[in-house]
């Protein structure tokens, strides 16, 4: 049987840009299917639509495609561009919420990146790791700062430094 084995979050330590100011959501699961089969489910539009979102994916580096935005998330679509496609090991694309129902097309909102890594398991299955990166880590920092700000709110700068 397959099941979700872990979900964790943390600072992205290895990245091409801004390595310390982004947060990543990592979800891993073990799948009974072989990497080739999982790859098909990640890259064939009909199969991908059956579990992720309606799409017109083309798993070629540089290719652009669109996912229909899920209910409850902002934007009416997700604009994607393939950054890496190495069958059947690695698929990485940009994930950019865009557009608003009933409003003007406002272009990109917050850019994030989704990486699918496929590792073969000894039993012939696949361990799939999905890393959704690019969430502003300032969210965390700011929440952490809330307490100290409450203490020093309205205080002169000198006091702020001494605190």
């Amino acid at each position: 049987m397959t099941k979700l084995v872990s979900e964790r979050t943390g600072a992205l330590v290895a990245g091409e840009k801004a390595p310390t100011d982004r947060e990543v959501i990592v979800t891993e699961c073990e799948l009974a299917a072989a990497p080739e089969t999982v790859w098909r489910a990640l890259t064939e539009p009909d199969l991908l639509a059956a579990w992720l979102l309606p799409n017109d994916i083309r798993p070629e580096r540089g290719a652009s495609f669109t996912l229909k935005s899920p209910a409850g998330l902002p934007g009416e679509r997700i604009d994607c561009q393939v950054l890496d496609a190495e069958r059947p090991r690695l698929l990485r694309y940009t994930w950019r919420s865009a557009g608003r129902p009933g409003g003007p097309d406002t272009g990109s909102d917050l850019d994030t990146t989704v990486t699918f890594e496929l590792f073969p398991t000894s039993s012939g299955g696949t361990r799939l790791r999905v890393s959704h990166a690019g969430f502003p880590a300032s969210v965390k920092e700011t929440v952490a700062l809330r307490a100290s700000q409450a203490r020093t709110c309205g205080a002169p700068r000198a006091l702020l430094r001494a605190a």
């Binding site: 100011d21 799948l31 489910a41 059956a50 579990w51 920092e141 929440v143 700068r157």
Partner: protein, 104 residues
Amino acid sequence: MQEEQIFRALADPTRRAMFEALARSERTVSELRRRFSISQPAVSQHIATLRRVGLVRERRQGRFSRYRAEPTGLSPLIGWIDRYRTFWPERLERLQGVLKDLEP
């Protein structure tokens, strides 16, 4: 939708950096202008955008206004991230079902 406005406000790298600077300490417009090497009107415009979406608040001090990040302003964004935290496990469970059909 409030969270989309927040996304748009933070989509600009300068504004995002400005917000992060204001989360660390309170600053005036001229302090921000020096830090970011952009014109005063540009700083004021960025501040206005951040204030409009509730990410920054103003404190008048004599002739000057000082600005700092409003931590609760990020709540919709935190909600957005939390939704993705549940989104991926849900979708991967569906993927398992799809794979079962592919490999009976």
